[in-house]
C-alpha cells in the first residue's frame, strides 16, 4: 500500500513536478517512459516516488519513446490506467504509436512538455511537437502555468477514461517556461484528487479471458473509413463531456476551465489568440493597454486544442474587429496552424474579423511584453482602417531583416 504524501496547502512547484504529483495521485497502474529534456523530471520525480514507496503501480523503463508508447498501449489494452511523458524528438519517435493508441481507443495520458524539433538541435520551448501531434486523434489540452498542468492532468484521466470518450489525452505545457518555472501551486489532498479522478473501470480489457477481444485489427476499404469516422465523431462528441468534467473540477477547487478561454473579450476590438504561457503574458499586456492606451484588447486561447473548439472560438471572436493568431512553431511553408484554424472558424461568421499571423518564439526565443504591445497596436491599426495594413504573416523577435509574407486582397 502506497505511503501517504504530506502536501502543504500552497507548494512552490514547477510544471514538471506538478505533473508528477498529479500522476502519483491518480494512482496510475503503469508508467512506461524514456526520459527526454525538458520532460525528464516528470518521470524522474515519479521514479523517486516509486522508490520512496509512494506509488503502488509499475514504472517500466524502456529503450526508446517508441517502446514507451508501445508499452503504454499494451498496458492500457490490458486494462490498466496508464501515463507517460515526453518532448520533441521523443514525441516524434512516438508518432507511429500515437495513432495506434487513438485508433484502439485507449485512454492513455501523455504529458507533452513542448520543445522545438531538430534540426538544428534545440532543447528549449516551442510548439513544434504539439503541432506534430495534432492529427493523431488524441484529445489535446493546453496548460499556461504549473497549476494548470496539475489540474489538467487530473481532468485528463477523467476525460479520456469516460465511457463515451475512450480516447488518449495529451496535456501540453511549455518547455522550461512552465516545466522549469516554480510558482505557487495549490494541490488537492491525495484523497480528494483520487476521489475526483475515480477508480478506473476498463472496457474490453485484454486480460478478461472470459471475453476475448481483438486490438489492432486490420481493416481495408471495407471498414477502415467507418472506424476512423467513429473515432472523429468520438472526438467531436467529447466537447460537452469535457465541459461537464471541467464544471465538476470547478465545484471541487473553484478553478474554472473552458474549452476556449476568453480574457477581457466582452467589448474587445482587438484580440490575440495564442497557446501556452504566451496566453498569460498577453493578458498582462491587454490589461495594460486598456488602462494606459485605451486599446480595447482581449485574449482568446484554445484550452482544448483537439477536439478543435470551432464553435466556441467563433463565439469568442465574432464581435471583435482584428485578430492576431500567434504560432510558436515553424510554419513549414504555410500560414501557422492557429491562423488557419481560427481564420476558418471566423470565416463562417457574418462579421468576419481581420486575421493576421505572427510567428514567434521558435527554439525558446523570448517573447517580451513590449513585443506583444506592438502586436496589439498593429491590430488596432487594422481595426481602425477596416483592412489589414501589414503583411498577413509576420515573424516577431527574429534577428536580421523583417520577414513577412502575403498581402490582403480584402478592402
Amino acid at each position: 500500500m502506497a505511503l501517504k504524501y504530506e502536501l502543504q496547502e500552497v507548494e512552490v512547484w514547477d510544471g514538471n513536478y506538478a505533473a508528477s504529483h498529479a500522476l502519483r495521485q491518480a494512482q496510475v497502474d503503469v508508467v512506461a517512459a524514456y526520459p527526454i529534456t525538458p520532460s525528464t523530471p516528470v518521470v524522474e520525480n515519479y521514479g523517486q516516488f516509486v522508490a520512496d514507496g509512494y506509488i503502488d503501480g509499475e514504472f517500466v523503463m524502456v529503450e526508446s519513446e517508441h517502446a514507451a508508447m508501445s508499452g503504454c498501449v499494451g498496458a492500457a489494452a490490458a486494462g490498466g490506467r496508464v501515463a507517460t511523458a515526453t518532448s520533441s524528438q521523443g514525441f516524434a519517435l512516438m508518432v507511429e504509436v500515437l495513432y495506434q493508441a487513438s485508433g484502439m481507443r485507449l485512454p492513455i495520458v501523455l504529458n507533452l512538455v513542448n520543445r522545438a524539433l531538430a534540426s538544428p538541435l534545440n532543447v528549449r520551448g516551442d510548439h513544434s511537437d504539439m503541432y506534430l501531434g495534432r492529427d493523431a486523434g488524441w484529445i489535446m489540452l493546453d496548460s499556461f502555468n504549473a497549476q494548470e498542468t496539475y489540474d489538467l492532468n487530473l481532468c485528463a484521466f477523467r476525460i479520456g477514461e469516460h465511457k463515451d470518450v475512450r480516447l488518449p489525452v495529451m496535456v501540453n505545457q511549455d518547455g522550461f517556461i512552465t516545466s522549469h518555472t516554480a510558482q505557487n501551486v495549490r494541490p488537492l489532498s491525495d484523497e480528494d484528487a483520487y476521489k475526483f479522478v475515480g477508480v478506473y473501470e476498463p472496457v474490453d480489457e485484454l486480460l478478461d479471458f472470459a471475453r476475448p477481444v481483438t486490438y489492432g485489427a486490420q481493416t481495408e476499404e471495407d471498414w477502415h473509413f467507418e472506424h476512423k469516422a467513429r473515432q472523429h465523431k468520438a472526438l467531436i462528441d467529447a466537447r460537452p463531456i469535457i465541459e461537464d468534467i471541467f464544471a465538476e473540477f470547478e465545484k471541487l477547487t473553484g478553478r474554472k476551465y473552458n474549452r476556449v478561454e476568453s480574457y477581457m473579450m466582452e467589448d474587445a476590438e482587438v484580440a490575440i489568440v495564442a497557446l501556452g504561457s504566451t496566453v498569460e503574458s498577453a493578458r498582462v499586456v491587454a490589461k495594460y493597454l486598456r488602462e494606459n492606451e485605451g486599446i480595447k484588447a482581449g485574449v482568446v486561447a484554445t484550452r482544448v486544442i483537439r477536439p478543435f473548439p470551432f464553435d466556441a472560438i467563433r463565439t469568442a471572436l465574432e464581435n471583435c474587429k482584428a485578430i492576431g493568431a500567434m504560432d510558436r512553431s515553424a510554419p513549414g511553408g504555410a500560414l501557422g496552424m492557429l491562423f488557419n484554424e481560427v481564420s476558418a472558424a471566423v470565416y463562417t461568421t457574418s462579421s468576419r474579423p481581420l486575421v493576421t499571423n505572427y510567428i514567434y518564439g521558435l527554439g525558446g526565443r523570448d517573447l517580451t511584453l513590449e513585443q506583444i504591445k506592438d502586436i496589439y497596436r498593429e491590430l488596432k491599426k487594422n481595426a481602425d482602417a477596416g483592412e489589414i495594413t501589414t503583411k498577413i504573416q509576420q515573424f516577431v523577435g527574429l534577428r536580421g531583416p523583417k520577414l513577412e509574407f502575403f498581402k490582403t486582397r480584402r478592402g
Binding site: V10, N145, I177, Q183, E280, S281, R283, L369
Partner: protein
Amino acid sequence: MVEIRWHSRAGQGAVTGAKGLGDVVSTTGKQVQAFALYGSAKRGAAMQAFNRIDDEQIITHEKFMLPDFVLVIDPALVFTDNITMNDKATTKYIITTHLSKEELISQLPELQDKKDRVFTVDCMQISLDTIGRAIPNTPMLGAFVKVSEMFELDYFLGRMKKVLSKFPQKIIDSNMQAITRAYNEVK
C-alpha cells in the same frame, strides 16, 4: 513586483537558491516565480536564474526583466558577465568576493557610479567555513535578507528551517549558520 536576477555558474546552486527563496517567500502568502536560463549548460558554465515576487498571481512569462536586485554568487563573473544589463537607477547589487568593496569597485568601471547600491559578501568563504563546501547560494540568501529588508532574520531562518526539514539536522544547522553569517557580514 520585485524582480531578482542571479548570476552563477551551473552547479553553484543558483536554481536551488532561487527556488528556496521562492519556497520561503510563498509561506508569507506572497506569489512567487523562480526560473533559470540554463537548458543544456554544463557544470561551470555561466548561467542566470530569476525570481519574481508579488502580492498578486504572477502571469508574465517573459524572460526579460529590469531587476531590482542582482545577486552574483561566483566571484569571477563580475569580470566576465554583463551584471549591469537592463538595470535601473535603483537596482541593488550583492556580489560575492574576497576583495573589499573599494578594491572590487576600483576594478569595475561600470559600478563606479553605483557605489551606494553595491554590497559585498564572501559567500565562498562563508559556505566553506559553515557547510564545508563551496556552495554560495545559501549565504547569498542571508545577504539578500539584510539588504532587501524584506524579512526579519529570525523569521526568515524559521521559514527556511521548514523548507529544509527533510534534511539531516547537521545540514540544517550549517545552513542556518551560513545565512546568519552572511546577514551579519554583508557590507
